[in-house]
């Protein structure tokens, strides 16, 4: 195929974009708008997943030590706990600290504790966090087998609930995103189909003048790709600005809410949307043409 033919295809595609201003605008804005909605939900799902992950990592196992353990023996135990696979971190809580905490929990009913002050009945303990909630059970068992550990407790029910919650969030999020992707593809190719439909007569004429199917297709495909590209560009710009602003304002006003850091996420999202945009543009054109090439 001659280079000048490719030049022709590209020139045709560009010209057509400009000539069919209304139709191009309709396609580009449909891509931009649907991708904007899609992108916002992908970001939302990313963040929900992140929050879920943060929650998961806070599940704790409490390991109470033998009350008659020597001072300093807990350092050995700490080392052993850290070696258990799946453990994220473990924190030593001394008898004294435990009582202080209880005091805080009791708030204005401190008087209840005054009586026990002198004979602190609490024990030293470790608070162990697991990387994933499904590991908690195994970790608890491992810790229980360590020498010097008297008792291991974790909130079975809470762990399971959390596990269910994060799994539901992930499944629902994925489902919504997949549905939105399908809807987006459908809406965009609907629009492209209409723009091709408006030019069906031209396609017929080209065929009668001796154009091959591919000679007719290429400019349309390139146009579809350009439409996809432009639409994606617009949506990506808006998404970027919005998300940086959003992440900033959350960081500064609600620092305890975990937000996915923008740079990485947006890079992935950009790649994904561009890929999708170009594919939908190209295939949308290709599929829409089929009917009208039968002349």
């Amino acid at each position: 195929m001659r280079i000048s033919t490719w030049e022709f295809y590209i020139r045709e595609a560009l010209l057509s974009l400009r000539r069919n201003g209304l139709m191009s605008l309709a396609s580009v804005s449909t891509v931009a708008l649907t991708f904007l909605i899609l992108g916002l939900f992908v970001l939302l799902v990313f963040n929900l997943d992140h929050v879920a992950g943060t929650l998961e990592s806070q599940v704790e196992v409490a390991a109470y030590l033998d009350p008659d353990l020597e001072d300093g023996a807990h350092l050995e135990i700490a080392k052993l706990i850290k070696e258990i696979p799946g453990v994220k971190e473990s924190v030593f809580v001394s008898q004294g600290e435990a009582l202080d905490r209880l005091r805080v929990q009791f708030g204005d009913r401190q008087d209840l504790l005054d009586s026990v002050e002198d004979m602190n009945p609490l024990r030293h303990s470790f608070e162990v966090k697991a990387k994933r909630p499904e590991d908690v059970k195994v970790i608890a068992a491992e810790i229980a087998r360590l020498e010097g550990v008297a008792d291991v407790k974790y909130r079975q029910e809470l762990v399971e609930r959390l596990f269910n919650l994060t799994r539901s969030i992930r499944i629902a999020g994925l489902a919504v995103v997949v549905l939105l992707i399908l809807a987006t593809i459908f809406l965009i190719s609907n629009t492209i189909r209409l723009t091709v439909f408006a030019r069906r007569k031209e396609i017929g004429i080209m065929k009668l003048v001796g154009a091959t199917d591919w000679f007719i297709r290429w400019p349309f495909i390139l146009e579809g790709i350009m439409l996809g590209f432009l639409g994606t560009l617009v949506s990506i710009q808006i998404l970027n600005r919005f998300y940086y602003w959003f992440a900033d304002s959350v960081y500064s006003s609600l620092p305890f809410v975990p937000v996915v850091s923008p740079a990485d996420t947006l890079r992935q999202l950009t790649l994904f949307l561009f890929g999708l945009g170009l594919l939908v543009g190209a295939f949308g054109s290709l599929v829409s043409l089929r009917r009208f090439l039968r002349v």
Binding site: M1, S4, T5, F8, S16, M206, K207, G210, A211
Partner: protein, 244 residues
């Protein structure tokens, strides 16, 4: 070159446009197709271009049965035919120049050729000064000449011209016919459907007359009508009763 054998064409809506038509056309011939409105001239052109398929019969062009052409082969077959459509069929979004150049791009002529040939052909049909305009900015006759320019720009071995002078004044029409004759002299087979009695009568070329889809006459050096000279038209009497 062309053998149309026992061809019948019935459109999906039941209209039979051609009935058992047999025509043989030799390479280099110049043939007029004449006939009343709806006689089947355009249908014949559509069949030859394989825009439509015959309901019955065979059409051989250069020995190939074009009914059996595969979809893939169609564009290449069509490139051997230049067509002037009765309704022009110009690409509305392209300029006159681009419309003509399109036929050359389709066959991937080098750019050099396109730059040389297109202006030459536009000059031939007298439209050099309109080359940057869109079809919607042209008069009927100008559009028709663009259609002709597109049909001849590739020097096709076969030229189908469906009423190529229908929107032209007699002088311009004669110039166009002159052009067709010239092209025919260089070896192109020319098939022209027309209603221009004066042209057909003057040219003394082969005339195939259709009537209700049948070939009713096929004269080697024929005229538009049956009788050499027809009685001139007489105006209806004043006050004559009419159906309106």
């Amino acid at each position: 070159m062309i053998k149309i054998c026992k061809v019948t064409k019935t459109y999906p809506n039941g209209t039979t446009a051609l009935r058992d038509v047999n025509i043989h056309i030799k390479k280099g011939e110049f043939v007029f197709f004449v006939g009343a409105s709806g006689a089947g001239k355009s249908t014949l052109a559509k069949l030859l271009l394989r825009e439509e398929l015959p309901t019955k019969g065979e059409i051989l062009v250069n020995g190939v049965d074009i009914v059996k052409l595969k979809r893939r082969q169609l564009p290449f077959y069509r490139r051997g035919i230049g067509v002037v459509f009765q309704d022009f069929r110009l690409l509305p979004e392209k300029t006159v120049y681009e419309n003509v150049a399109f036929a050359m791009r389709v066959v991937e002529e080098p750019r050099r050729e396109i730059l040389r040939q297109v202006p030459a052909v536009l000059h031939l049909v007298g439209l050099s000064h309109k080359s940057r305009m869109k079809p919607s900015q042209l008069s009927g006759g100008e559009q028709q000449r663009v259609a002709l320019a597109r049909a001849i720009v590739n020097n096709p071995p076969l030229l189908l011209a469906d009423e190529p002078t229908g929107n032209l004044d007699p002088d311009t029409a004669w110039e166009i016919v002159r052009l067709l004759v010239e092209i025919n002299r260089r070896g192109t087979t020319v098939i022209m459907g027309t209603h221009a009695r004066e042209i057909v009568d003057t040219m003394k070329k082969r005339v195939v007359a259709l009537e209700g889809g049948r070939v009713v006459r096929d004269d080697q050096r024929g005229a538009y009508g049956c009788e050499e000279a027809k009685a001139p038209f007489v105006l209806p009497e004043v006050g004559e009763p009419s159906g309106l």
